[in-house]
Subunit: 147 residues, 2 copies
């Protein structure tokens, strides 16, 4: 297996954390430099038309994209310790909380960063109004959670 990795970006990091928590050594890594737009290159686009990182290439050549798809694959190969739940109810609850965090928090943080940070201007057609709306909705959610 080969892991096409994206350095400091959050999704490559999620996958590396998952390997670490499983106690599974990382496979051979192929660094892809997002700042240099290497994930937009023709060669990488053939691997993952979504132009996102990370991608795990299996020994049979299958290119597996999407963070949670990669994590599930590793969970299947190495069931212990179980990180996606041990039975039907636990597995459903892990899925629910993962979705809540992705849809309710991670996506908003990503929206603020991608649509307002100067370093993202080259990678993203920025919509500053969208960054602002997410900043406000998250601030409201956090102050509600504290009360």
């Amino acid at each position: 297996m080969k892991l096409y990795d994206g350095g400091r970006a959050p999704n490559p990091r999620r996958v590396r954390i998952f390997f670490a928590e499983k106690g599974v050594p990382l496979p051979e890594r192929v660094p892809v430099d997002i700042a240099k737009r290497e994930h937009k290159s023709e060669a990488f686009t053939r691997l993952n038309p979504s132009q996102r990182l990370p991608v795990l290439v299996l020994d049979d050549g299958t290119a597996l994209a999407e963070t949670i798809a990669i994590c599930r694959y590793i969970e299947s190969l190495h069931p212990q310790p179980p990180l996606f739940g041990r039975d039907a109810r636990e597995q459903a609850l892990v899925e629910m909380w993962n979705r809540r965090i992705e849809l309710g928090l991670f996506s908003a943080v990503a929206a603020v960063f991608r649509h307002s940070h100067p370093s993202m201007a080259e990678l993203e057609t920025q919509v500053p109004e969208w960054a602002e709306a997410n900043r406000e909705s998250r601030a409201a959610a956090f102050s509600a959670a504290r009360t």
Copy 2:
């Protein structure tokens, strides 16, 4: 089990389609009228603080939110026919494609609808610029897919 259902909204519909494809009868349904903001009520918010539909309430009282969490639970109880893949590789590929459709298509269609349709103005702090950006990016993706 009880299924808190949301009528024509796409996620409640995804869950009902999943039950139908599995050949599993729908559990008792509790209709929640999104147009009347019933999903924002205090009683429903206690069930699902995210104020989203659908929610499956298990016999032990667990409130299971998030569409795919509910689908996985049904898959665990009724493994045949397998709709999340039969082995490690298939399960990972199903996850990948589900994510690609959700993140690359469904979320954009939802953004256009939620942020530009007059009927959504009461439910959503609309950001018209975000609707427009998603309309354009999807139009570009579709014309690229056709070539």
